[in-house]
Assembly symmetry: C2
Homo-oligomer: 179 residues x 2
DNA sequence: CATTGTTATGCAATTATGTGCATACTATAA
DNA sequence: TTATAGTATGCACATAATTGCATAACAATG
């Protein structure tokens, strides 16, 4: 259950509320590990039980109170232990590629359209990556942990760039099939 | 639940037993949609209930009997309907990239080693892709459904190639950090 | 002759994830 | 003033996936 570790990793940066974490999982770290807000809240409850985070309610004016979670020493120890263990290959599940597997049974115009949508989604992701890179990393002096994030980001950028390229190629190849 | 559809897609090729399907999900289509044998058997039971496949036991000598599953017309209709619906973005979950996010808390030599392992895994995958391509697609006359598989395979090859490249870069960047 | 490997199927229990809903307060715009 | 959007937390139910186990026939290797 690496969701627990992903949350702890976020909290090494700064203490956060469940809401902050959910937003983080929608953007920065969410580019490499997706989680919904319900998952985050559930996991936070478990982390609190295991004493890997400490939670304190913070009063706010004009807004509901926040419950801010701070990583404990035991939490940091958990990350270190986890970092020593080998990691699983990410398990791929891509409906789009499965659809290519049954091109004779599938509606090809619909598939073309879906390819177009997918290309746009990856272009969007690439833009997000670029903006984050310019905003936080280009021309800055980087700490170790920032350096790590930049490495991940760089991998993300070249991967998205390549994916867009090959999806565009696939679109052309698919249109050749239609004739 | 696109596992159902992924199985149906496999069965458009030829009737298969659960065991055949499990192996297919370990190799060819499994490169784009991973599933364990338990998942396959469970899903097959459901597909049979929904009359999307027909199952007949085939006696064998020297081996346990096989239960061979054939896609029905209703099954092919299900694929067509599914092909019209937009598909979800694959949800990424990569521990390795998450570990880069906490480079200050993580054991860097261990991470380097894991990067090496990951590179080897992707090299292995790339080899498999190349062998499949040479074996089944290069210099052959292709049917529509084979053409689709080739497109998916081509995407796989360029993606793996790129991933290996950027993991190697990441390894160098990580070693620069260590000093 | 015992062990390991391959073919072949499946259950049970647990863990993970997703979907929909519920609550509550505030700011802003139509 | 009604609707919409944003902040903030969370439960309940349903579906999906993983892990471990169980069975059973045979083949090959040491």
């Amino acid at each position: 259950m690496a969701l627990a570790e992903a949350i702890l990793v976020c909290l090494t940066d700064r203490p956060m509320s469940g809401y902050d974490l959910a937003k983080t999982f929608d953007a920065s770290i969410g580019l490499f590990w997706r989680a919904s807000h319900q998952q985050v809240y559930r996991e936070l409850a478990r982390l609190r039980e295991r004493n890997l985070v400490e939670s304190t309610e913070v009063e706010q004016r004009g807004k509901p109170n926040r419950i801010v979670h701070t990583i404990t020493e035991a939490g940091e120890h958990t990350i270190l232990q986890w970092s020593l263990k080998p990691c699983k290959m990410p398990s791929i599940k891509d409906e789009l590629l499965v659809k290519f597997y049954a091109l004779e049974t599938v509606d090809i115009p619909a598939l073309s359209e879906q390819l177009g949508v997918r290309i746009d989604q990856h272009r969007g992701k690439l833009n997000v990556y670029h903006r984050i890179k310019e905003r936080f990393y280009d021309g800055h002096n980087l700490s170790t942990s920032q350096h790590g994030k930049l490495i991940a980001l760089t991998m993300g950028i070249s991967n998205e760039t390549e994916v867009i390229q090959s999806l565009e190629n696939a679109l052309v190849m698919l249109q050749d099939t239609q004739d």
